[in-house]
């Protein structure tokens, strides 16, 4: 196999060009990468990009905060857990709408379900194997896409205000401070014991990030 030319970058996983909203920095990374095309030495070209991504606001000591203060989740069991999630959605909805308008886009919508229906579909797994509301995919895939949508919707709302935030703070917020995160954490062992093999597979590896699994019940 003929190797490509590599540029190693010190940015966090999921951000290979470094910094969202920073065109100048992205171009700097891109130019460093394209410059390797002229290299003919080898056997492997593996260069280090010398700069860290511009610091997120959380790194300057001021911290990041969600646009609104959500009440601390209290419910230890469903159905109160669903009601808490739906209340959070209602409170975050203006911020999600603002984020969508400001960016002119959203990454929410891969399941094809509205956000409240996403929450209700996920919650229905507490009662067994629900009907699949996404015709084009298996129930396990519908579960995975619904989880993706729930996270996307919350995190787009949480990053609505300009200035951005670091991914670790955002992940800790979603999984540690929201009722939606608590719902997914409570659902993981339920889905891991599902009668549906596809649902079990998603629960085992595509449900809770490794870095947040310490929060599992």
């Amino acid at each position: 196999m003929r190797p490509p030319r590599f540029l190693w970058v010190p940015f966090e996983l999921g951000r290979p060009f470094g910094a969202p909203g920073d065109a100048a920095f992205q171009t700097k990374v891109l130019r460093a990468l394209l410059a390797l095309l002229a290299r003919k030495d080898g056997p492997v070209v593996l260069e280090d990009f010398p700069e860290d991504a511009p610091a997120a606001p959380e790194d300057d000591g001021t911290g990041w905060a969600c646009p609104i203060n959500l009440p601390k989740p209290q419910a230890a069991a469903e159905p109160a857990m669903l009601e808490e999630v739906l209340r959070e959605i209602a409170r975050l909805a203006p911020w999600y709408a603002y984020a969508r308008e400001r960016r002119g886009r959203t990454t929410f919508g891969v399941s094809g379900l509205e956000i409240e229906r996403v929450a209700r579909f996920l919650h229905a797994f507490f009662d067994g194997v629900p009907a699949n509301p996404v015709a084009a995919v298996t129930l396990g895939e519908a579960l995975r896409l619904a989880c993706e949508d729930l996270r996307s919707w919350y995190l787009e709302a949480a990053t609505a205000r300009p200035g951005g935030a670091g991914s670790r703070a955002l992940a800790d917020w979603f999984w540690g401070e929201t009722a939606a995160g608590r719902l997914l954490l409570a659902l993981q062992p339920v889905c891991a014991a599902s009668a549906d093999a596809g649902v079990r597979h998603v629960a085992e590896s595509q449900f809770v990030p490794r870095s947040q699994r310490h929060r599992l019940p």
Partner: protein, 154 residues
């Protein structure tokens, strides 16, 4: 990629345990100067147009991203939950730098941007598992007169 020291221990251990087949030492493919390069992006970020088929967990296929597609129409259905999505949510170019490539083309720094770009879902496939897709993509890239490919992982 990321510094292992910036990862949670569990994520660092996971990456270190991955089997990475070695590259051979055959020479690189040479090409014309940058200003004559026609460049395509191939990303393993599991991107596609909203409305296109989502990537599923066992998906070794590809999705087409037209070169004139507004970056705002891309979504991500990569199966791994162990990397950040919030950068992509805020700015597609942090994963798929199509606007930056267009700017370099407009300035004459690169020759042109390909008519089509491609996305796969790179959740740890071994080379032989994804090779049929890579061969298919290579043929389509040649047909589009592409002579440089920017591989963008997540």
């Amino acid at each position: 990629m990321v510094r292992l020291t910036d990862l949670a221990d569990v994520d660092a251990r996971h990456l270190l345990a991955k089997e990475c087949p070695p590259f051979g030492s055959e020479p690189f493919v040479a090409g014309p100067p940058l200003r004559e390069r026609r460049i395509a992006i191939v990303t393993s970020a599991g991107l596609h147009r909203l409305g296109d088929r989502s990537f599923d967990i066992q998906d070794t296929g590809y999705r087409v991203i037209p070169g004139d597609l507004p970056a705002s129409e891309l979504v991500m259905t990569h199966s791994s939950v162990n990397f950040d999505r919030t950068g992509f949510q805020q700015d597609t170019n942090v994963v798929f730098p199509i606007d930056r490539l267009r700017e370099l083309a407009a300035e004459g720094e690169i020759g042109s941007v390909a008519r089509f770009h491609y996305s796969v879902m790179g959740a740890g496939w071994l080379p032989q598992e994804i090779e049929p897709t890579a061969i298919e993509l290579a043929a389509m890239l040649k047909e589009d007169a592409v002579n440089a490919v920017l591989l963008s992982p997540v």
